[in-house]
């Protein structure tokens, strides 16, 4: 393939040379050791992220991209309100978020062409357009690979679990899934982290010592063997995590001050947001959570007004404000997106009206971290039917998100079949979105 190297001056030779040193050179264990070393040298450039999925596809026209001047069959029932940032208006049913618009940017006029939920989610929640030939990793899995984490803390946590897997990066970059959502006022048990079966820390400790002494069968080949080396490294990390007070406490939202906790509502989305801020504070680098139910083919306005918008408003406003209070907003990028927008024209499937899948035009939110808040970038046309100008591709926003958390979106990985693939295959960083 050498000829194609010249196409953009890219050469694989160096990467290959490193690989040629042998399995030990780039083994998983080596990788983990590097990342352990990173803990010591943790620097100020620390970047964390919270990714919020809105599966179902939220209507852009009724949330962050209202068209008050459009004809009524498009405009819908909601009115815009002014927000903290002059000139930026959002839907009237999100008054709390209106107070936080200085902390994030509204991206309008994002456009793509995949109008089915599974495909759209695969696309938007991985940043790469799905192909049948390759499973792309979720944002969190890439972050788990790239961002250094303290040895006793999981790098990537999903509340309660992530819709997209680690794809070609492999199961080692799966999130630690909480499996449950914290409920206000109840102790929160996370499988594998909370001590189970009546076992004590002292006992785990005793057992671990026995394990270290007995687990010697493969000692002679362990360092040469990626599987065994990886098992060993992960076993050490698991032990450190299970026995770590700070990890256990990271999941215990009841330890938050009442004054802080009380800004989060009782529903599971707000409680997930609360947990997310606590996890980030504890050293977790990437948290994925979600608020579903946006597939409003029927009764769009009732569902939004009475359920979805209040939940999003409460949770997200508290999340931004909470991060700010904890002093984490500058180091934590928050990215919020569904898989598509919804049709400008309101359908008549139900008396209340509904909107159908519409990938040609959608909105996204991004804030905190390296993102320049308090603005709107991009625009949709007069009826929200498409981008006003060139618009953005989901890949552009994906590239920008990675850039914001310090991951080069053009970095190249090798799939298990050694096919080279960039983190984001097509996107260009949107400079207007970054500081």
């Amino acid at each position: 393939m050498a000829i194609h190297r010249q196409c953009n001056g890219f050469t694989r030779r160096e990467a290959i040379r490193v690989g040629a040193i042998g399995a030990t050179g780039l083994s998983l264990g080596g990788f983990l050791k590097l990342s352990h070393a990173g803990e010591v040298a943790d620097d100020a450039k620390t970047r964390n992220a919270i990714f919020i999925e809105l599966p179902g596809g939220p209507s852009h026209l009724d949330t962050f991209d209202l068209k008050p001047d459009a004809p009524s069959e498009i405009r819908g029932k909601f009115s815009p309100i002014k927000t903290k940032v002059a000139g930026v208006e959002i839907c009237e049913h999100m008054p709390k978020l209106a107070e936080q618009t200085d902390k994030f940017t509204i991206i309008r006029g994002v456009s793509h062409s995949l109008g089915a939920h599974p495909l759209g989610q695969k696309f938007l929640f991985t940043g790469n357009r799905p192909t049948p030939a390759l499973d792309y990793p979720s944002y969190g899995s890439v972050a788990a690979k790239e961002l250094k984490t303290p040895v006793d803390i999981p790098g990537y946590v999903a509340i309660p679990r992530a819709s997209q897997g680690p794809g070609y990066l492999g199961v080692k970059y799966s999130p630690l899934a909480t499996n449950e959502v914290p409920t206000k006022g109840r102790p929160f048990n996370v499988r594998g982290i909370s001590l189970a079966g009546g076992i004590t820390l002292a006992e785990i400790d005793r057992r671990k010592k026995l394990l270290d002494d007995l687990d010697q069968t493969f000692a002679s080949i362990e360092r040469e063997n990626e599987l065994l080396d990886g098992l060993d490294a992960f076993s050490q990390k698991a032990y450190k995590m299970i026995t770590s007070k700070r990890t256990r406490e990271a999941f215990d939202v009841s330890l938050e001050a009442e004054s802080y906790r009380s800004q989060f509502a009782e529903d599971s989305f707000s409680q997930s947001c609360l947990l997310a801020t606590r996890l980030i504070e504890s050293g977790v680098r990437f948290v994925t959570l979600n608020l579903g139910g946006w597939d409003t083919h029927n009764d769009n306005f009732t569902k939004l007004k009475e359920d979805l918008l209040p939940k999003l408003d409460n949770g997200l406003a508290a999340l931004f404000n909470g991060l700010h209070q904890k002093g984490l907003l500058e180091s934590t990028t928050v990215f919020v997106t569904g898989e598509f927008g919804r049709t400008p024209k309101i359908n008549d499937k139900s008396s209340d009206g509904g909107r159908d899948h519409y990938p040609r035009c959608m909105f996204m939110l991004m804030g905190g971290g390296a993102v320049r808040g308090g603005q709107v970038i991009g625009a949709s046309d007069a009826t929200g039917a498409g981008p006003a100008n060139e618009g953005y591709k989901p890949e552009d926003v994906a590239a920008t998100f990675y850039q914001a958390i310090g991951i080069d979106p053009k970095k190249e990985y090798q799939t298990p079949t050694n096919r080279p693939v960039m983190v984001v295959r097509e996107g260009e960083v949107i400079n207007d979105l970054l500081i």
């Binding site: 010249q6 196409c7 785990i204 992960f234 079949t417």
Partner: protein, 908 residues
Amino acid sequence: MPISSCIRFFVTAVCGVFMAGIGTSGLAQTEQVARVDGRFAMAGLNEVPDFQKHVSPLLGRVGCNGRACHGSFQGQGGLRLSLFGYDFDADHQALLAEGSGRIDLETADESLILTKPTDAEDHGGGERFKPDSWQYNLLKAWITNGAKNTSEPMQLVKLDVQPARLTFAEFSEQTNLKVTAVWADGTGEDVTPLCRFQSNDPSVVEVNPDGHVTSGGFGDSHIVVFYDNGVATVPVMRPFPKERMTASADNIGESNPIDRLVGDKLRAMNLQRSELADDVTFLRRVSLDIAGTLPTPGEVRAFLEDKSPEKRQRKIDELLETPAYVAWQTTFLCDITGNNSQELRDLNYGAELASQQWYDWIKRRVETNTSYDKIVEGIVLSKSRSSEESYYDYCSTMSEMVEKKSTEAFANRDVMPYYWMRRDNQDRDTRAIAFAQNFLGLQIQCAQCHKHPFDRWSQKDFEEFSRFFTGIAFEKGRPTSTEDRADMQKILEGLDVEGKRLDNKMQKMIADAARQGQVVPFPQVMITKPKIPNDARKPKPEKIKGKGSRGPLYFTDARLLGENRVSFKDVDDVREPLMAWVKAKENPFFARAYVNRIWARYFGVGIVNPIDDLNLANPASNEPLLDYLATQFVERGYDMKWLHREIANSRTYQTSWQPNESNSADRRNFSHAYPRRLPAELVVDAMVQASSNDSENEAFLEEISSRATALPGTVNGRAMRRDRNNGFALDAFGRSTRNNNCDCDRSNETSLIQTVYLQNDRDVHFWIGHPQSWVSQTAGVEIDKKVRTEMTNQLAAGRQQLDRMEKQREKLLASKREVPETLIDKIAQIKERIATVQKKLDGQSNLAAVADQTKLIEEAYLRTLSRFPTSSEIARCESFIAEAKSLRDGLAGVMWTLLNTKEFIVNH
């Protein structure tokens, strides 16, 4: 990014250049034209370059049609070429597009395809070649002669590469490749400057764009050459240093052909086999591989005592007769055929039952060792009912199955149509992709959109192959035929359902009715006979293009992969010629795909890797071995047990995992065994088996109903939580997701989640300590079973009571009311009572009561690692138990520790 983003660089590979129906002879007689770089070195030559033979390959060679360049589906700078070429009409059209200025027939030098790549005109891709270079002269000559397209692509019959194989003794040895194209008209040309070259392992060998080869480190791989639609491979070997061998590599008998063929390669590579694995290692390995089951302590002892020389062979035969083998093999076949309950949602009577029926249909056939081709045929040629069966009768039979939740009757049917009812297997393109991967081990999906980058398939090949999948109609709702509709009406009238729309609500009512024993309508797979249009009428393939295509066929033929077209005339079911080709003796994929997959189950790696990617650019690491297994598998009537026996009985399979000095770096020649993480289902089963009491432990080979290998389908997402059968662990350890048509749907990697699970999951603690566990059986001996049950019940009741009271207290506290003293006392009392019972139940008895701790430690080792502990291991465990607060705690700790060793979780 370079075009290589779409190219895989294989770590492994090997062998035969095979192009359909072409031998190696005839090259000598072929008249050979010299290289284009020489011929066009000077401008003004009279020769007219050919679009297919010269211009198109040149554009590929200089990178124009790469995916970061003009091969991108969006094009680049307004020009779009077909990715990886071979779409001559489209490319010619793009180049000659009116007003584009790419080709200027009047003033050739002004053509953009000359000014751009020479960077005379600003070019995003920079300079690709110089003015007056041979490339420039060639393109110019083509333009001045009218820039003609190829009328009908000429068939490339052979791509000959010299030297045909390379062996290097030293690092950085150099040589040049010479590539000759031989065309259907008998002409030949040295096309070296027009080829693309790729090394499958650049650490072993590198090749530059001109075909200049440089040797690298020890190992073996291939160089792959691409030209036109031809792919040729050159095996390259760089043998390991001979002095690392301490004995002759052929120190074993090699009576098994596998051993001989593996031995041939080992000798060529100066690799010495590792020793024969000892009896306990072999027993654990083979029991897990064949039956997915750990040997019991009794089995290990008996095997060691058995002095017969045939004991290994006998063990293999025994294991192949167990229900556990059937379950594990059935799970594998469900993996490759995609038994995924999520995808069976369209079956109104319940995807879970359908999934179970699918599993049981295969299981029935594995039990009787039905030949592999028959099993596949039963799936591929399936339809929901036989020609004699009316829709009413079909519905009546199926309804009865639903009522009785029967899978037995379903397993008795000849065919298994659910494969065609998968939601993700409905349009002809995805069916073609799935079919090729599932049964042929081919990844043809690239060719859906462009020329396959590492195989011969063009988009046309793909389109013509996909026509075989147009006759299968999945009638989810109302049937198509009038009689069936009448039958359905009759059925609906007999039901107490209102309305006429077959919507979700109605489907639910129907499903309920079926469970109550009424006859209900069922979805069905029907076959549409191809309608051959009159000669006068033009075929209208566009009529059925697109998703969910069904209905009348307007295709008159289809093309088998790498073969001739098959006419649809007089064919009722177009899958029949397809299946006939699949199971024909000479089919180049079907048997190879299966034996390669089975090989990978025994060795962790296939002879071809990735195991489901048998493309031309990805040759086998040992072609004679793959060929032997595939040929013999066909010869033996696709006898699955023969293959298992043949592999498991080989010395190659029974080799130790301990490497020697010569072979420690070898990963592709089977010189020693490579440790493999247990597959997800076996992780769960092995932990349950190792920690359970004696009678359960011993039943694992025979009693499979509660095993993870007996789970029919696979569920994910929200449904996973309902999967009481250890769905969490199975997903964490990467059981097959069965949703991508890829063998990589199953993962054998390691992860943090897995080790967290092993160390601290509630499942693991539960299995080790529950009342029926080995630890309870052993350390709780003084408690009578009846008493124990009573105590367990007491405990549960006590905890419930405690829970209630604590809730009561919390409620009071929350409402800021006072908590009465009596409640506080009661809570304390109950807590104490629970602790006392728990203590008894935990076997807080005196250690002296238990006789021989060494025996118990031995037992724990045999249950988990299937071997006896060493004396120092015993000593360490004894001191651990001595420090424990009870024997029970001590044994639980030892069991936990052994389950957490690498030796346990790895098959070695």
